[in-house]
């Protein structure tokens, strides 16, 4: 009888002022956390494989770059006009650095870089270019497809929303 009443109270609580205040606080906290600090996103596509698989769910930690700039190797979330559609890419070069691909190998300022996060073969060749100030150069981890089909390049730091939580 007591259990029955408790179950009933759990699913159909009495709308007391205390309950309404509690529910309001929870709703406000959820809005602030999941709307502004840790926004959930759903990965569609396989450009970041094997680190991030198609269909996975993650959260964008918005305070990641509040006091620091992205570093080489960081995975960042890049916005378009708003925050509903974003890109997940890895930073490979920072501002004023020269970036180049030579037969699939990444060269920064002419030095070959070790990229342990890659597992797909790559044969890209891209002439050297300098990253503009207040920008970073981002590429996906899955570079197995032809270069023209892959979305990559330099983007302004102001477009970086944060980084994935894991």
């Amino acid at each position: 009888m007591l259990l029955n009443r408790r179950v009933s109270q759990f699913f159909f609580p009495s709308l007391t002022p205390a309950f309404m205040i509690r529910a309001g606080c929870i709703a406000l906290a959820a809005y602030l956390i999941f709307g502004h600090l840790l926004t959930p996103f759903w990965i569609k596509g396989n450009s970041m494989e094997p680190a991030y698989q198609n269909g996975e769910v993650n959260f964008c930690w918005k305070l990641r770059y509040l006091f620091s700039k992205p570093r080489r190797g960081d995975v960042v979330v890049i916005r378009f006009a708003g925050q509903r559609i974003t890109l997940l890419k890895r930073v490979i070069a920072l501002e004023n650095e020269e970036v180049e691909f030579r037969n699939g190998r990444l060269l920064i300022d002419g030095k070959e870089q070790n990229e342990p996060y890659l597992c797909h073969p790559c044969n890209w060749t891209l002439p050297s270019r300098r990253v503009e100030p207040d920008s970073v150069y981002v590429v996906g981890d899955n570079r197995s497809g032809p270069m023209p089909n892959h979305v990559f390049g330099q983007t302004s730091l102001s477009r970086i929303l944060g980084g994935p939580l894991w």
Partner: protein, 199 residues
Amino acid sequence: MVNPIRNTGKSFNPAGRVTKKIPPTGKPPMIPDRRKVKYVLIGLGLIAIGIGIFFMFFQSEEKRVKKQFRLLSEGVSKETGENIFTMDQKIKKIGSLFNDTCDMAIPAHSLSGQMTREEITGYAARGRLHLAELQLTFHDFMIAFPQEGEARVRLTARLTGRTTTGEAINEAHEIDCLLKKTEKKWMFNRIEVIEVLKK
């Protein structure tokens, strides 16, 4: 013998219930606080419903601009097995959304320069032949009215679908549009794709 009923001044109370007498105060009866709160809540609820209905039926300029994008999305989208009649209707719908000429800057689809309405519809019709299915959706609208009869819209467009050869399409672009009001209708005057990632 009949005993006469004496008027004792007490009310009839056979069960002998104890009732509390409320001393007369001379003031009108007060509405309890809980009932007051209930009336306030009901009032607020009715006001909220009224505001909701107002915004639902009130066509603001922003809504009119957004409607044009919804129509463009419907016109561009293609479902599997679409017949020629539907295709023709959609192409006409796309044409009706553009001004006589429209400035296009869509490098990803090799579209640039000023195009007439007929050129745009022709391009749309040819493009559809290579697609098995296509969905165009618009997100994150930022609408501004820089001057009377002009609307500038910045948004994200998402294209998903597949070609007739089975190749998947999954693209997102930031778009800057200029719409001009012609005969109480917002028409596309300029469409430009903003480069988010510069190779």
